[in-house]
């Protein structure tokens, strides 16, 4: 029997938001609408970041997250059975959302070039991935390898992964990465400041890095494994979005646990609620620990049934991963041929 229902599309038009930040006061002016009928929405969140007290009051006024309930919801969505045509569709969508990543001390120009080649042509007729993600010093290599291919270059910055450096250094690193041609910057928040309740410091850093990004997209890594509670995940998500994040990202991949399904679920709820409140759409990127096609498909189910269709594109949802791509390719081939090929039939990088 065919499905009789599917997620209805929210009656909110697709949104291209522009965020104008003026000093510590927060002015969110979002352009809402399709090509026609553009209107300006000024949100009620204008004064939220006017002071540490106001910001704290706002973040602590967000609805709580019940851990048991969130875990159950994520587990239930994990039981969705995605087969045949839906699986094929999901695998290709997942490939197109991959931020192919290498973030090792041992990275070299050669390693990055090889990864870029795979990013553009993963194998067979599979679509290209969304972006490659590298350390700042390797951005020129990636830019050289990817120019004109449509695959974006993302760079981590801001003293990744710990974020333990001065703001000057973080901004400088961001500026350098952008100058070298990075399309996207993956910054980390100051978890120490967040956990000690100094939200304004976290906010100001994001604002400063966002300014340094210029036209580059800013992904803000919350490092949810260090934030520990789901309440903190929701607060950090809102904090990052208020400060101008284009994407919120779960993890650096250097801390365990990384992108667990409940954490991704809570962040998807946050971007959904943020758009309802401000009209501005923010993307989500789970990263770390997503290794199999099954994990990736579970993530797409979370998007589909939480934020909905509007987030089901590489513009709004990414999967940060390194080994995931080969499993997606293997499952893709299995679907078309009916059998698994050995690992030697898939390229290392």
């Amino acid at each position: 029997m065919p499905y009789l229902w599917y997620a209805g599309t929210p009656a909110i038009p697709r949104t291209w938001g522009t965020t104008a930040l003026r000093g510590s006061g927060l002015e969110v002016e979002a352009l809402v609408g399709d090509a026609v009928g553009v209107s300006t929405v000024t949100t009620s969140l204008t004064d939220v970041a006017s002071s540490d007290t106001a910001l704290r009051a706002f973040l602590h006024g967000l609805p709580g997250v019940d851990r048991v309930g969130a875990d159950q919801r994520a587990a239930m969505l994990g039981t969705r059975s995605i087969k045949t045509t839906a699986k094929a569709q999901a695998i290709d969508l997942a490939i197109s959302m991959v931020d192919l990543t290498t973030l090792e001390g041992a990275d070299t120009a050669g390693k990055v070039r090889a990864m870029c080649a795979k990013a553009v042509r993963p194998g067979g007729d599979a679509p290209r991935v969304a972006a490659v993600c590298v350390y700042p010093d390797l951005v020129p290599v990636a830019v050289g390898a990817l120019g004109g291919t449509g695959v974006k270059v993302a760079s981590v910055a801001t003293a990744f992964p710990s974020g333990r450096s001065s703001l000057d250094v973080k901004v400088g690193e961001t500026t350098a990465a952008v100058a070298a041609g990075a399309d996207e910057i993956d910054m980390v928040i100051d978890r120490g400041a967040f956990l000690s309740g100094r939200y304004m410091k976290v906010y100001d850093e994001i604002v400063a890095v966002k300014a340094a990004c210029g036209a580059a997209h800013l992904k803000v890594i919350l490092e949810t494994g260090e934030l520990a509670t789901y309440d903190n995940v929701r607060r950090a998500s809102w904090l990052a979005m208020l400060a101008g994040a284009d994407f919120i990202k779960t993890s650096t991949g250097k801390v365990s646990p990384a992108a667990t399904p409940p954490v991704t679920l809570i962040m998807l709820e946050a971007v959904r609620d943020f758009r309802d409140a401000t009209g501005r759409q923010v993307g989500v990127k789970p990263a770390g620990g997503i290794r199999t096609a099954k994990d990736a498909i579970k993530n797409l189910v979370l998007v589909n049934e939480t934020a909905g269709d509007d987030w089901l594109s590489p513009d709004w949802f990414r999967l940060g991963a390194s080994s995931l791509l080969n499993d997606l390719l293997m499952q893709r081939q299995k679907l078309s041929t009916g059998r698994y090929a050995g690992p030697d039939y898939f390229t290392l990088d």
Partner: protein, 476 residues
Amino acid sequence: MMAIFEYAPAPESRDVVDIRPSYGLFVNGEFVDGSGTPFKTVNPATEETLAEVATASSDDVDRAVQAARKAFGVWSALPGAERAKYLFRIARIIQERARELAVLESLDNGKPIRESRDVDVPLVAAHFFYYAGWADKLAYAGFGEPRPLGVAGQVIPWNFPLLMLAWKIAPALACGNTVVLKPAETTPLTALVFADICRQAELPPGVVNIVTGAGETGAAVVGHPDVDKVAFTGSTEVGRIIARAVAGTDKKLTLELGGKAANIVFEDAAVDQAVEGIVNGIFFNQGHVCCAGSRLLVQESVQEEVLESLRRRLSTLRLGDPLDKNTDIGAINSAEQLAKIRSLSDLGESEGAQRWSPACELPDKGFWFPPTVFTGVAQSHSIARAEIFGPVLSVLTFRTPAEAVEKANNTPYGLSAGIWTEKGSRILWMADRLRAGVVWANTFNKFDPASPFGGYKESGYGREGGLHGLEAYLDV
């Protein structure tokens, strides 16, 4: 509009079940013919006839009670540890045959396979494991040196056919009683497979007897003079008839009847999880749940926010083939129940409440009702009073905790309640004042064999599950 990510059908295979064209009664360890007129059981999702099932006449019931009486001598004399072995064996076979039982339950009842697979059948096995553990420890249960009662006559409903069977049979057997059980006439099949499991476990003949049929068969079980204990789960209306039938006899009686539970959402609740809890409270098992959270009491200050989230969430529910692994809402169990839900919903509308359902296409065949939310409901509306036993939620509001308690308790029922708040002290304050047998905090419709379940007021008396559940099957 075509969705970007459309789930393909993912039906669970029917091959795992082997439905026979006709079924007899299970008496004294044998499948035998019934002398009443056989009836048909249908798949409520398609209206296809699944099998023809025997009807037990009062003579057949008498034979079953005699078999149970005879077996009682042997069974009650067994050391508890020996009875436990049989129960553990049954529990393990249930786990081994879990897929078969889940598919059959979904076929006969209409509930989604996700629920029969992940909720019903695991809980069935858990109940047998739990009470198997008690069988040799009854002397330590706090009832002195208790004796079993004898023959238990048990009548169960169609909403959780196998789970209700487990709730009835597991404690009865653990305590040393033997049973004659009548499953509901619309859902007899898993009980008959359970009979097969009893044979597979080599349970002594007569310890478990299954008699199928409608109300008359049930009346014969309940009214049989040699039955020592009557246990019934079902409607308050039938519960009253049974209480009258049992009055004046020395039969011990437990009744688990209807409910009209309040699910109370405070302004400081975790909204997303509260919405999940509301959905789970009333749309789990198509609302065919006696403890369903059919009245949503939401604090006025968050009413709009909660209802908006709820409507959005309901638009993602997937209604359709119960055997599809991605189905959230299955079929209504029978044409009769569907008619009842329809008439109560129409009454709600005519009394002035606002009706809302998500955009939803119902299958052409079978018995279906869309998830439905009524807002603007007052305490005086019929849909706030009567048990609908379907996927219909009535939304009421309150201003203060005291008002929430008053409204929650303002019902003839008292089976369950839910509280949603991040404030622990308020949960305890509320739970003290709610006249309900089960109070869930920040969750709903959670069951565990170790936890007693039962009602206040017109929701019945006696407890099933846990230590308390033993009392109903012991002479204490």
